[in-house]
Structure formats: structure tokens, C-alpha cells
Amino acid sequence: MLSLSQYCVFAGMIAVVLALVCYVLAFASDRIFQARVMVAADTVGAKITAVQDGEVARGVAVFGTLTSWLAFGFLSAALALRWGATGHGPFANMYEFSVAFAWGALSVNAYFLRRYRQWTIGVIVLPVALGMLLYSTTVPSTATPLVPALQNNLLLTVHVATAVIAYGAFAVGFAAALLYLVQSGGGRRLLPKRELLDDLSYRATLIGFPFLTLTIVLGAIWADIAWGRYWSWDPKESASLVTWIVCLAYLHARSARGWRGQRAALLLTLVFAAALFTYFGNLFFGGLHSYG
């Protein structure tokens, strides 16, 4: 079952790459089309309506979206299989957690696709997921048995599952924020309106923040049970608190001081950077969370 799970991760990785290729092609075809229209307009004075020209791009993008759903399906299967094989939530070592991170990003992305139908966000989210999947290939994928401190199935599963959702939401928020920043010189074709991106990044944070809070609280409960202290200023704890505080600052800046657009988007990229730092943190600062 473990190797089947790994095949699924592999298939998921290929699907992510394909989806990404589709999206890039969508952008490229739109560019080329636009260029051709311009050339045509210059030479022959031909008139092609705007409705037509986006169509090719959108057609390709639909493929990308379908493939990203497929990737989501493969990773879900991979995690489920691994769960079945190890008997605990697939969140116990760096390998499992990286795959789960990619799954989180894809799942929040899928939710946003369904809810807001803005595939362009995937242009950023998919590379993030791909990065995590590639990273997962560099760490040992063997299923390590749980050391005593990790032997709490319920908390292990819920604590990390909420973290995965939170990080996925931050990845989506970051994607929308980045697309917003990219457009700062004026609207780009195919990309959603800036106001919509601004709103999407906010929506993603509204999911990410409660889940991050839940992650931290559950972590504190677990620490109290396993280490006898709910908060030890362990580096990973502190780093997650930094993420939480930056996110909190964003929410306040936005809802109480009316920050929108550029500044808000920059804060959100900071939130995602902090989340990544928290995630990779134990690689370079050790501490109680260093389970390898």
C-alpha cells in the first residue's frame, strides 16, 4: 500500500506539471493571439472581437483546471493509502507533511475554483504545490514508526490537518496577492480584476487565520499532554506565533484601518513567507519539533 501511495504522489506530481503547462499555454496562446490580432489589425485592418480572442486561452485553461482536480484526487488517494498503511494520520515526518502541504494548497485552491471560478490563481498555487512535492522526493519516504511523544492519534491528525489547511489557505492568499502586485502597472488580460484579487486574498486569509489559531491551540493542548507544558517557546511554536501575529496585523489593518490593495498584498506575502519559515524552520533551528 505504501508503494501504491508513492505512485499516487508521483501521478499527482505529473498532473500538477500538466495543469501548470496548460495554464502557461493558456497565457501564451492569449499573448500570441493578441500579438497576431495586433499584427493583423496593423496590416489588413482586420477586426476580431474581444470575445473570440480569449476563447482559445480559456479552452486550454479548462484542461488545466481539470488536471489540477486530478492532481488533487491523486494526492488525496496517496494520503488516504498512506494513512491506511501506517495506521496514523499521514503527518508524522517531513515526507508525509510535505505531501500533505501540497494537498492542502491544492484543496484550498480547488475550493476557490469551485466558489469563485478564478483559475489564474493556480498559476502561483500549482508551483507552490509542485515545490513541496519535489521537496518530498528529497527526504526519506519510509514510514517511520511513531516515537512515544507522537503517539496521540487524534491530536496528531487534527493538529497537523488544521495546519495543512491553514498553510494551503495562505498559499492561495499569497497567490492572489502576488497576482495583484504583478498587475500594479495596470490591468493584465486574463487576470481577474484587481479588486477581485484583493477580495480573494482576504477570503483565503479568513480561512487561514482561524485554522492557524486552531493549529496553535491544539498544539498547546498536545504539548500540555505530552511535554507537560502548554507553551515552551520552542522555535517552531514561536515561528508559528510570528505568522499568527503578522496575519492578525493584516486583518486589523484591513478591517479597522481600511488597508486594501498594494500594502495589504505585501503583508499577505509576508504572512506566506512566515508560514514557510515556520514550516521549514525545524530544519535549521532544532527544538522539540525536530522529528526529522
Partner: protein, 492 residues
């Protein structure tokens, strides 16, 4: 969020009276109050808190045990000096080697709490008013200009139209209040109208968590090195009147090597009477009467007996070999014979190590008079063979294991948990169930009634679609009759 009260505060501008006060020159307490409730100051405090936490994450932090002891702290500073060079002194003076107990950190938290409390108190009256006593009569201009709006023409007369409207709103989980004003019927429909109180929960819960943390830091106790040799009983102390006995200890490993479980069977005694027997495992601590026993570490122990020349038993217990000798070859434990004024060190080769002075399976005793550095005697003992040192007969009975416990009492944690629950509850309330307020007015029209529906929600792109669905539902219910206009921005 569509209420009038919070829309006003959303802009972040201080209310006008405050501005005039500033111009007039205000009393210090008013100035402080204004600062405390200012979002800008709150944001700065949050950022300072974030930065300090980041500093605490990046810089090495002195362990708590080291901080209390000047000599140990000086040693610790020397240990980190190669890393920080000339900055060591500066960082030390600024207290950045113990950020989380520094005045900066505590001061920021204090100011933040003050800010949170004043803000929450100030806001709760407004929230209450918004939730319970909405302004019922909205102007015609409101229905003409609100960002989300719809018009419905109905053949029903106003009373029937109202009933239909009411049931359609109810079906969408809105609560409906009605006010008649001459011919016009004003309707205010709310969904999740209590959700904004989640904000008060959130802010006060944070203060609650801080209070809990303060109680944790200042009361209760935490003993991280309670070593209980198997078969022996150790007093917990700290005024608990509890003693803990280890009946057994077992460590087991996976075939591939990593540890699988550490498990002790503990018996707790209160006033000498056994009160609880339970297995103590990592992740399954034993709790009794507010005191928690965590399985934490383990190691070798030896059972020692000491008798006077007349055969009276002075000591008969396991001694945990808690320490490691300087050459790292031996494990060392210690026990006291207070009546004799003797301090006895027990030295055994650590597992896998060979100490040429101590034959395998033996143990060495070093006996000191308390306060003196020259031993009264040093002898190697074989199991079961008594030896006399300093007038006391010692017997090395057998080897055993000890189980290491963390014993802690933390009255603050309950408050932290209540605060955390409130925080999470508040967050989900505010973010997942936002308060929605939709208004409607029914007027008698030529063929029945005219109904106008409108809502203000500028900041949520998804709400426009929600409103469209609601308006369609209302239209279906309040009709029949041709819809004269489509709702929403379409007719703007």
C-alpha cells in the same frame, strides 16, 4: 458586516469629538484612553510583539534554569559569545537573551491587554444596539443607492406580501423585524446577528489567555527531575503531601531501533495512604488532585541499604543514578544519611562503558561528611556483600531502573484553555458566519404592492451573488407578478 455602527468605525477615523479634544488640549487620562483605543497604536503594539517574538525565535535564549543563577548565566553567555561576538553585551543588556521574560515583552503585552479591554468595552454597547435595536426606518435614498438592491412588484396586497416576504426570509435563515409607518412597512432581516459579538469574545479571550499564562508563570510548581527508582517511594513536596512510588518501568523499542514506549506503573500516596494506581505513559499522564505526573525520562538505579553498627536500618531504597561523571564513563547518584551527617555518592559504569576501577556488576561508594571535600572512604561493593565506611554498614542490594517524571501543578492552564476555546469559537463565529442585514420596504402599489430590498456589503465579492440568490427567492415568494427590474448592480 453591514451595520451602521460598525461601518462608521471601519473607516478608522477617530470620532470627531476626540479630534476636537486634541485641539483643545486634553487631560492626560483622556489622552491615554484615546491612545489605548486607537487602532494605529494597537497595530504598532502587535507589530512590536511580532518583532520581539521573531527576535526570540532567531536569537539563542537562555534556559530558565540558567537565568535564575548568575554564575550559570555568565557561563552561558561565554558559550554564546563566539556566535554573537561584540554584540553579546548589547544583547544581554537589552534583555534579548530572555526576550519572553523581558520588560519589553511583558510591557507590550500589558499595553495590549489594556488596549483590548478598553476597546472591547467601548464597542460592546454599539454591537448590542446594532444587534437588538436596528434602525428600522430607512430612507428612500437608501433603497435607491445601496450597493445591493432589488425591486419586486407584486399583485398581492401589502399584508399578504409581508407574510410572503417574511416566510421567504425565514426560509433563508433570516430573522425578521417589522415596523409600520403609515402605509409603508419597514422590514429588517438579520442572519447571524450575534456573530459580531465574536469580536468581543476574541479580544477578551486573548486577555484571558494572557491572565492564564501569568498565573502559570507565578503560581503552581514544576519539578522536571523527579526520579523514582522502581520499588521506591519519593515525596513530591511543594506542600502537596503526595508521595509517588514506581512499581515498574518498561521501555520498548521498534525492531528498527526507535523507541516505542516508556511506561511506569505509579502508585500515589497521600498521607501514606495509597490514593491512585495507574500506568504513566508519554501522552497519557497521571493526574491527581490538580497535580500531573508526566513520564519524561529514565535511567539506572541501585538499591542500597545502610545500617548502623547495631543493625538499625538507616536507609533502604533505590538510588537513581541521575548524573553522568566528568569522564562520561560512569553514572552517579547520591543519597544522604542526615543523622550521621553523611553524603553518599554511588558510582556505576554507564551501560556499555568500562571503568577499569569498577569491576563489571559492582558499584563504588564515595562517602563524604557533609560540607567536606575529602572522602571519609571509597569502596567498591559487589552485590549483597556488606562493607563498612565511616561506621555505617552499606550493602549494594541490586541494580534497578528509575523512572523520571515531570511533576507539575498549573492552575493557569484551565484559564488558558477557556480563553483558547473562546478565541476559536469567536473566530469561527466572525469569519464563517458573518452578520448579514438586509432591509426591505413594502408600499402599496397600483396593482398590489411595491417591494424594495437592499443591503450594504461593499467588501465581500461573494455577497453580491448571495444577495442575488436571496432576491430571486424573495421574488418567487412575493410574486406573482412581472419583475419590473432585475436586482443588484445590473440596473445601476
Amino acid at each position: 458586516m453591514s451595520s451602521t455602527v460598525s461601518t462608521a468605525s471601519r473607516s478608522g477615523r477617530p470620532p470627531r469629538p476626540a479630534r476636537e479634544l486634541r485641539r483643545a488640549g486634553v487631560a492626560p487620562h483622556a489622552w491615554i484612553l484615546r491612545k489605548l483605543t486607537s487602532m494605529r497604536v494597537a497595530l504598532m503594539l502587535l507589530l512590536v510583539l511580532g518583532l520581539l517574538t521573531l527576535v526570540g525565535t532567531l536569537l539563542s535564549q537562555a534556559p530558565a534554569a540558567v537565568r535564575g543563577n548568575p554564575a550559570a548565566y555568565a557561563e552561558w553567555l561565554e558559550a554564546v559569545r563566539p556566535k554573537y561576538g561584540g554584540w553579546t553585551e548589547v544583547l544581554d543588556i537589552l534583555g534579548l537573551f530572555s526576550v519572553f521574560s523581558s520588560v519589553w515583552f511583558k510591557g507590550t503585552l500589558l499595553l495590549l491587554s489594556a488596549s483590548l479591554i478598553t476597546c472591547s468595552l467601548r464597542r460592546s454597547a454599539g454591537l448590542w444596539r446594532t444587534a437588538t435595536r436596528p434602525r428600522m426606518v430607512m430612507t428612500e435614498a437608501f433603497f435607491e443607492r445601496a450597493p445591493q438592491r432589488a425591486k419586486i412588484t407584486s399583485e398581492k396586497d401589502p399584508a399578504v406580501a409581508l407574510a410572503a416576504l417574511r416566510s421567504a426570509f425565514r426560509k433563508n435563515y433570516f430573522r425578521v423585524s417589522v415596523k409600520r409607518d403609515g402605509e409603508r412597512v419597514h422590514v429588517c432581516a438579520d442572519r447571524f446577528r450575534w456573530a459580531p459579538f465574536g469580536r468581543i469574545f476574541i479580544h477578551l479571550s486573548f486577555v484571558l489567555i494572557l491572565v492564564g499564562a501569568l498565573i502559570t508563570a507565578t503560581s503552581g510548581f514544576r519539578d522536571e527531575s523527579v526520579a523514582v527508582p522502581v520499588g521506591s517511594r519519593v515525596n513530591v513536596g511543594h506542600g502537596t503531601g503526595l508521595a509517588v512510588e514506581a512499581k515498574s518501568f518498561a521501555d520498548s523499542y521498534y525492531p528498527s531501533g526507535p523507541p516505542r514506549s516508556y511506561e511506569s506503573r505509579l502508585v500515589l500516596y497521600k498521607g501514606g495512604v495509597p490514593v491512585k494506581t495507574q500506568d504513566d505513559r508519554v501522552n497519557h499522564p497521571v493526574r491527581y488532585d490538580g497535580i500531573t505526573f508526566y513520564q519524561s525520562f529514565f535511567g539506572p538505579a541501585v538499591v542500597m541499604q545502610a545500617r548502623t553498627a547495631t543493625g538499625r536500618v538507616l536507609f533502604n531504597q533505590g538510588v537513581a543514578l541521575l548524573y553522568v561523571s566528568q569522564n562520561e564513563k560512569d553514572r552517579v547518584g547520591r543519597f544522604l544519611l542526615p543523622q550521621q551527617g553523611l553524603s553518599v555518592f554511588v558510582v556505576s559504569p554507564a551501560s556499555g562503558e568500562v571503568d577499569p576501577r569498577i569491576p563489571v556488576g559492582d558499584t563504588q561508594l564515595e562517602v563524604y561528611r557533609s560540607g567536606s571535600n575529602t572522602p571519609v572512604g571509597i569502596q567498591t561493593l559487589s552485590p549483597g556483600k556488606p562493607a563498612s565506611i565511616g561506621g555505617v554498614g552499606f550493602t549494594f542490594v541490586r541494580e534497578r531502573e528509575f523512572t523520571g517524571l515531570i511533576v507539575a501543578q498549573d492552575p493557569g492552564s484551565t484559564i488558558v484553555w477557556i480563553g483558547s476555546a473562546l478565541l476559536v469559537l469567536g473566530l469561527f463565529m466572525v469569519f464563517l458566519f458573518p452578520h448579514r442585514r438586509v432591509r426591505a420596504v413594502i408600499c402599496p402599489g397600483p396593482g398590489g404592492s411595491e417591494v424594495a430590498v437592499a443591503a450594504i456589503e461593499r467588501h465581500h465579492a461573494g455577497f453580491a451573488a448571495q444577495f442575488e440568490r436571496l432576491a430571486a427567492d424573495l421574488r418567487r415568494s412575493v410574486g406573482p407578478g412581472p419583475a419590473t427590474k432585475k436586482g443588484g448592480r445590473a440596473d445601476a
